[in-house]
Amino acid sequence: MADIKIVNLHKEFGAGADKVVALDDVNLELGGHVFVSVVGASGCGKSTLLNILSGIETPTNGQVTITQEGGPARAGYVFQSARLLPWRTVMDNLLFVQEDRSEPTRQRCQRYLDMVQLGDKGKKFPGELSGGMQQRVGIARAFSTEPDVLFMDEPFSHLDAITARSLRAELHHMWQETGKTVVFVTHDVSEAVELSNRILVFAKGGRLAEDIPMDLPFPRESADPDVALAKAEVFRTFERIGALTVR
């Protein structure tokens, strides 16, 4: 469980007339065993936020600190596509992001492969697996480093509805079991409401418009009236900030 502190975060791409503001003065604190979803329309800076948090991109201004009990925190990342090395086997893909290849490390990787029900696919190459299986390997890879914080960028958006649903259930189960801090970017409001206990709504121009707590008990079924009400509230927020306006 990590503590994330974001102070006056600002990110721009390009210069002059081509300048685009991706994140505009974002301030945020989150930590502990939370599942935070970041929602908003395309181009509102959701993925940029995640890339800055994970160190792939650097901010134009502002500060981001991620700590674990005062020290540096370890992070894992699940991407929109699986991003596996095609020339390494499934097991080697997990080992690639570990600090060593010792027997205990291998056993840990195997445990997470088992958790995503791919325990027998360690020797396969990614090209031999289906898209859903590859995405599960990506999830196992992120968990296998036993990170303090897990970043996920629309991890189920490329999958069919049935696979996505079962992976969501798996992810929720793993989150509860491992007690991690999860920051989850999605454009799917239902997904955000069913999985998270906090939802951050971003508006166009990279502004953090709303921070909505989600205190409903788990498991959350989409047919549950309370869940439907919560979704409606998020959509109302979208409306209020103008994200649903069609021009």
């Binding site: 992070a75 991003r83 690639f96 090209g127 031999e128």
Partner: protein, 279 residues
């Protein structure tokens, strides 16, 4: 009294789809090899028939005469020694070309250096090996630098173009993934950049080698005093056609060996993941 026992029957094993596929593949391979062999037999037969019947056997010695000469020259040690000389030249020259090619390919990622090298690489790719072989023969005579320089000049550009294309298409998403997990730059290079570049390098080596091979023999024909090309020149000058054809045969066997055995083994060893992809 005799007893009759029913023969023990085991349920007949049903051929799985995999078995069937394997069988079909094997039959297919056998047929391909059959046709290949038939091709060899037909053309060698035609050649043997022509020798002494359609053409004077001094002008066109048959394959049997050529194979006999090959065996003689092998026994005297001439063939292995000429092979060793030519192969050493190719080895050193190609190694130099590889180093130069990779270096230039990397430098060309810089916009200004790209402009600096671009036309030189185009010239390297388009100039026929024969021209470099002639120029280096005139400048260096029978000194070793001639064939080596000719190999570097004809081959480096092929390597450069391939390396350059490989670097341009580096998988940024995989590199970002590694960064997000805190994987260091050395490990990233070893496990992402090198495996990504390997097929490009391999293509460069494959094409480059076939060019290096031809230009080496050409320079030897023009100016060397040893090697397969030199032996060909000597045989021509002395009008020993069986010997000349023997050297061509040697050339062919070696090229086939390098292409079909050495390079294919390397390909199978390092690119097995692509085979699994196709499957």
């Amino acid at each position: 009294m005799s007893t009759v026992t029913a023969p023990s029957t085991s349920p007949p094993r049903r051929a799985s789809a995999e078995d069937l596929a394997r069988k079909t593949e094997r039959a297919d391979r056998l047929r391909t090899w059959g046709w290949r062999l038939a091709g060899y037999l037909f053309f060698l037969g035609l050649w043997e028939f022509s020798s002494g019947r359609l053409m004077d056997e001094n002008l066109l010695p048959g394959p049997s005469a050529v194979f006999a000469t090959f065996a003689d020259l092998w026994a005297t040690g001439e063939v292995p020694s000429a092979f060793a000389t030519t192969l050493t030249r190719i080895g050193i020259g190609f190694f130099l070309a590889f180093v130069v090619g990779v270096l230039v390919g990397m430098l060309m990622q810089n916009r200004w250096l790209n402009g600096f090298f671009r036309d030189a690489v185009t010239i390297g790719i388009t100039t026929p090996g024969l021209i470099w072989a002639l120029i280096t023969a005139i400048i260096f005579g029978n000194r070793e630098a001639g064939p080596l320089l000719a190999i570097v000049l004809t081959t480096f550009a092929v390597i450069t173009v391939n390396v350059s294309e490989g670097i341009k298409s580096l998988p940024k998403d995989l590199i970002d993934m590694a960064k997000s997990f805190g994987v260091g730059v050395l490990k990233r290079n070893r496990h992402i950049v090198l495996p990504h570049l390997a097929p490009f390098l391999f293509t460069g080596v494959r094409f480059g080698f076939s060019i290096a091979w031809k230009v080496t023999v050409l320079t030897e024909v023009f100016s060397s005093s040893s090697g397969i090309g030199f032996e060909m020149r000597t045989a021509t000058q002395l009008f020993r056609l069986p010997e000349f054809l023997t050297w061509i045969l040697a050339f062919y066997i070696l090229a086939l060996f390098l292409e079909k055995v050495v390079l294919e083994v390397i390909e199978r060893r390092f690119f097995s993941w692509r085979t699994s992809l196709k499957a």
